[in-house]
Amino acid sequence: MRDESVHLDIAPAGPATERPISIAIVAMGGQGGGVLTDWIVLLAEKQGWIAQSTSVPGVAQRTGATIYYVETMPPLDGRKPILSLMPTGGDVDVVIASEYMEAGRSILRGIVTPDRTTLIASDHRAFAVTEKIAPGDGIADDGAVLDAMKVAAKRTISFDMNELAVRNGSVISSAMFGALAASGMLPFAKDAFIEVIRSGGKGVEASVRTFEAAYARALAGEDGAAPAEPVALAPAASDSLPAGVASLPEAVREMAAKGWNKVVDFQDAAYGREYLDLVERVARLDQELGGGRHEYALTVNAAKYVANAMAYDDVIRVADLKTRAGRRARIEADLGVKGGQVLQTTEFMHPRAEEVVGLLPDGLARSIMAKPKLFDWIDRRVNKGRRIATYSLGSFLMLYAVGGLRGMRRRSYRHKLEVAHRDAWLEAALDAARRHYALGVEILKCRRLVKGYSDTHARGLSKFDRTMAGIRMISDRKDADQWARRLREAALRDPSGEALDGLVQTVSGFAEA
């Protein structure tokens, strides 16, 4: 603790006095922080203590981060304590966080300190807008919260209270109340907590059930953690995999198996053979380059991204996926559709001439593209939002038919474009790998930039092109791989590509220098 003052040789003016128990609840608007606060106050009052709660809901009730604060202690000879209206860093006994990043925020506010604070946190995530809108993976790093908890909290009780509450038919406030009871930080019997819940109105039974489950779970500590979900196995049994996969280096096999599955699912066995040919070719080069030292990163990434490049998102694939039996089963499970209920889904499709013409055989498509008037005429007929009731007969037959056009895919204009793009990219990567192994790997990873449909897809392609152009400028540098990674990450940071353009500018500076 800070102690920079001059010590005077005199006795303290007064004894260090007793302080109230302080509890801060950090939550997002609409998460029931208010209910939990009221419960704690009522609980303390029923035991004859004085309790004071405050909050600053304001506009934070609309999904923003907010904080509730309770102080409680017994009266002394009929005198009421003077309680504070806001938490003080370093002087909070319990912090209850209804979400994992909010637990992190409470640490940053200084209200979780190692000498004093029991941190009760639900470790589930509700993503913030800034995390959602990144074109790549903008999700904040949970590990950073865990690391900070280890140094900041005296004790941590952390599990998925949201899931536990939902499973028991209630909301997170009941689970947090249960964890608080289990923490033993309030010197009141468990029954007193339950009595408070029972004095409320709606959903009492589910709340008590959730409270009990959370109480037990919190006492069980780490050992009580639910067993990890069984890891999903590759959809295909290994015996149906082609021999080509087995002959690849061990490090590559799993990815190659998944890739092969994806490609065959997209088209057919011959296409799968084509995929394996490509991967095997990369593997041979990888061997030559001593890829064992790099855990065959070149081949692993090729196996991954070539599969993605080959299973591109066209109308046929979308129609096929939408009409599969498994798709309907997934939705039914997701919504909990029961027998006796009827499910219908509506698709929101907006095809453009590009998609339709892209399906046509290469020569025909090119001749149409050469006639802008004809192309525009087609666009006018096609380009509009269409809502399709998937499980009504006519619409289903239409989607089913489109999903069955696999036979004409490999002759289509779109396919020719995709193959050309894929080959050029793969060549560039392998070419680079021969000179600079890590750079080759980074170029393979740039495939990640190509995604989305229509305009988004076009924007992705343009970012891919700009990134590749940037990489070409610095490909002779020793640290070219690091710059390539930076370029790709910049491209994924914002939708407009401003960060990318800025970096390309920087990179072109090196090229001139």
């Binding site: 603790m1 800070r2 001059v6 005077l8 005199i10 006795a11 303290p12 003016a13 007064g14 260090a16 006095t17 309790a51 004071q52 405050t54 304001g58 009730q61 609309r62 999904t63 981060a65 009421k80 003077i82 504070s84 806001m86 003080t88 370093g90 990043m101 992190g104 925020r105 300190t113 190692p114 959602k132 809108i133 993976d137 999700i139 919260v145 690391d147 900041a152 890891v231 994806k262 699912d265 066995a269 009409t323 599969r324 939705i331 919504l335 559709v337 209920q341 009827v342 499910l343 219908q344 889904t345 509506t346 698709e347 929101f348 007969l393 289903f396 449909y453 229509s454 305009d455 988004t456």
Partner: protein, 719 residues
């Protein structure tokens, strides 16, 4: 109907003499008004005062029983003008609003009221929205009290004290013929506490008595020469009367030892924080037994010179604890001590920060610095003070700072305003960025990601007015956004009327969601619900036509993103002159769900055919580019990490809080995003025809699906 119902809590307002009230600060304030025998109450909602308005609305029956009325005023100016009922008649009245914004609006009426003075007790309850969690500019109400000469009460955050001050405040108002302001801070409004009640009081003189026996007095009207007389009256009569009342009735309080070299002079509202700071410094116990003398100003204007002189006379130094800037109390104290020749040194904003929350930590540092300078022996052995700063410097915590995303408030799941801004964003992509004036309300969240729309906000209802200067011919037009709340508050005249009169060419979007939503869903003139105490269902479109607007478009379903976009485009490009007004109407989803959900559940239970909808994303169709989220920001449209090593980026996913507003599908369609979205309709209690049709269709569909599944399996084996 407001978002939160206080129907149960309102029963506590009937508690009688000797019974103990336990509850939120706002309710305690309401109870104090009833114990003071008010005849009328008015006000305008806004945090932290919204709940006061909701409580009063729910307490209308009780008020009627007591012969009093409650009105939700059209604006703070209306509320302030309402107090004129107390000018000539012995009627007690109170009005409330969020401050300083509401006080700004009310100032004209308040200045007139304070000039002429009052006969019956008149009280303004201001929710001081200052410090953490505030949604407005950081200013002090203190300045308004001083400039119009209204007494300012700032009670200790203790319900007993607040209730007493309200009761005494009415007496003070009557004793000095001056309106009184009672300042309560945000946390105090929401503070749970208790106090011992008195019986509610029925006013002896009623509003009807006043109407039936009208009185007038030219001397009370603000017009020369009376206005000059008022000023002299304020100085020579009302101020001394107030000081005498405050002194004799002991509105201010003293704590701690009578003697001492140093003391603290503080605003009532700062009391709990100061006690906590003294506790950290070993100078008080948890029950407020302090070793430093405290002079607690429950009345912060006027300062009672004789009281502070007595407090300071034997002291070496005093510390003034006063939140916010400038330091009015410190300046006033300097004048008092200088005039009286008392030599106590003054500490204040030299050891405490000029602005910002006075948290216990800030106060501890300030009091310690003061004592180190003036009386270090009091600090004794200096037991350690709670301090989190060393921890915040630790590497894992410093790193966390980079990780935790900000989480400002945003539009709710299914909000009808989201598609309006999605459409604006799409128009921006086509026609370029425009100058957009924003307004106060939920729609102000448009200024944040993902929309990033809106350049300024100049006050409630003033969005349209703040484009007034941009009334020139140019390649682009200005756009103003205003809510229905702001529209009725003043926007109809200040914005739309002004634009019609000055032939402004801009685009004006009025967001009509049937409630004053940002403040908690109170009814307003254009609310669509029936309200037995108010006249609702008054059309915004008719109002703007009435004021002379010609180009007016009504959109009845904001979720129609295509239509919204087309209308905006037309408004921005049409050759027609004058303001282009778009009224975009759909019900606030928070309120709609509260209204509709129980109905739907009851219908399902009773066996009626009900279609429940939700949106979803096909995760194998979604490519994880998140373009949809950049046009949404809906809490229910979130991310999902797939357990697939072939995929890098999390895909879109819709959780079960989705209310099927339709925005996702509309946007995907209008912006030509992707075919990942679907709407799932589940028919509960389907009709026989539903079942037969679905049964037959699904039979065939399953046949086709099986066929293709088999073919797919065969293709794999062929490899």
């Amino acid at each position: 109907m407001a978002e939160r119902s206080f129907a149960r809590e309102v029963e506590d307002l009937r508690l009688g003499e000797g019974e103990v009230f336990r509850g939120e600060g706002i309710l305690a304030i309401t109870k104090a008004l009833l114990q003071s025998g008010v005849s009328y109450v008015g006000g305008y909602q806004g945090s932290p005062i919204s709940h006061l308005m909701d409580v009063l609305a729910d307490a209308s029956d009780l008020l009627e029983e007591l012969g009093a009325i409650y009105q939700s005023s059209a604006s703070e100016a209306t509320a302030a003008a309402m107090l004129s009922a107390s000018v000539m008649y012995p009627l007690r009245g109170a009005v409330a609003w969020k401050s300083t914004v509401g006080t700004n609006v009310a100032s004209d009426a308040l200045a007139n009221l304070a000039s002429g003075g009052v006969t019956g007790g008149a009280m303004v309850i201001v929710g001081e929205d200052y410090g953490e969690g505030s949604s407005i500019m950081q200013e002090r109400t203190h300045a308004f009290a001083m400039k119009s000469q209204m007494w300012l009460l700032d009670p200790r955050p203790d319900q007993e004290c607040i209730v007493r001050l309200i009761e005494q405040g009415f007496e003070l108002s009557e004793a000095s013929n001056t309106p009184v302001m009672l300042e309560v801070r945000v946390r105090t409004c929401h503070m749970h506490g208790s106090f011992v009640c008195k019986d509610n009081v029925r006013p002896a003189f009623t509003l009807a008595d006043a109407l039936e026996n009208p009185k007038r007095d030219l001397d009370r009207i603000v017009l020369p020469p009376a206005a000059y007389e008022h000023e002299q009256e304020k100085i020579k009569k009302r101020m001394p009367q107030a000081i005498e009342f405050i002194r004799s009735r002991k509105l201010n309080e003293w704590f701690g030892p009578e003697e001492g070299d140093v003391g603290i002079i503080l605003q009532g509202g700062m009391y709990n924080g100061v006690i906590r700071a003294l506790q950290y410094l070993g100078l008080s116990d948890a029950y407020g037994q302090t070793r430093i003398p405290l002079y607690v100003m429950n009345v912060t204007y006027p300062m009672i010179a004789s009281e502070v002189e007595d407090f300071c006379r034997d002291k070496k130094a005093v510390l003034v604890v006063e939140e916010g800037q400038p330091e009015y109390l410190e300046q006033a104290l300097s004048t008092v001590l200088r005039r009286s020749g008392i030599g106590a040194r003054i500490g204040g904003k030299d050891v405490l920060p000029m602005g910002g929350d006075y948290t216990a930590k800030v106060l501890t540092d300030g009091v310690m610095a003061f004592l180190e300078r003036e009386a270090p022996e009091l600090l004794g052995n200096r037991s350690p003070i709670p301090d989190a700063t060393p921890l915040l410097k630790a590497a894992p915590v410093a790193k966390l700072k980079e990780v935790v995303p900000s989480r400002p408030p945003g539009l709710c799941t299914g909000c009808p305003e989201r598609p309006i801004f999605a459409a604006m964003k799409l128009v921006e992509e086509e026609l370029g960025q425009h100058h957009v004036s924003a307004d106060i309300g939920c729609h102000l969240f448009s200024i944040l990601p993902p929309f990033n729309i809106g350049a300024t906000t100049m006050g409630f209802g003033l969005g349209p007015a703040s484009t007034a200067a941009f009334n020139v011919k140019a390649g682009k037009r200005s756009i103003a956004v205003m809510g229905d709340g702001g529209f009725w508050h003043n926007g109809l005249t200040s914005g739309i009327g002004n634009a019609v009169f000055n032939k402004h060419d801009g685009v004006f979007v009025i967001v009509d969601n049937f409630y004053s939503s940002a403040t908690g869903g109170q009814d307003i003139l254009s609310s669509r619900a029936f309200n037995k105490r108010r006249s609702t269902n008054n059309s915004i479109v008719e109002a703007v036509h009435g004021i002379g607007a010609k180009w007016v478009r009504q959109i009845d379903r904001t979720y129609d993103v295509g239509k919204m976009r087309a209308t905006l485009k037309e408004a921005l490009t049409t050759k027609e002159e004058g303001p282009k007004i778009i009224v975009a109407s759909s019900e606030c989803m928070l309120n709609k769900q509260r209204r509709v959900k129980p109905q739907i559940n009851a219908a399902i239970k009773s066996g009626e055919r009900v279609v429940k909808q939700r949106f979803g994303v096909d995760e194998d169709v979604c490519t994880g580019d998140h373009a949809c989220m950049r046009l949404s920001g809906c809490p229910s449209l979130t991310l999902k990490k797939l357990d697939d090593p072939l995929r890098d980026d999390p895909v879109a996913s819709i959780d079960n809080s989705c209310v099927a507003c339709g925005n996702c599908g509309e946007v995907a369609e209008a912006a030509v995003l992707c075919p990942s979205f679907y709407r799932a309709d589940v028919v509960h209690n389907p009709s026989r025809w539903d079942k037969i049709k679905a049964g037959m269709t699904m039979k065939l569909i399953r046949f086709l699906q099986d066929r293709r599944d088999r073919a797919r399996a065969a293709r794999r084996v062929a490899a």
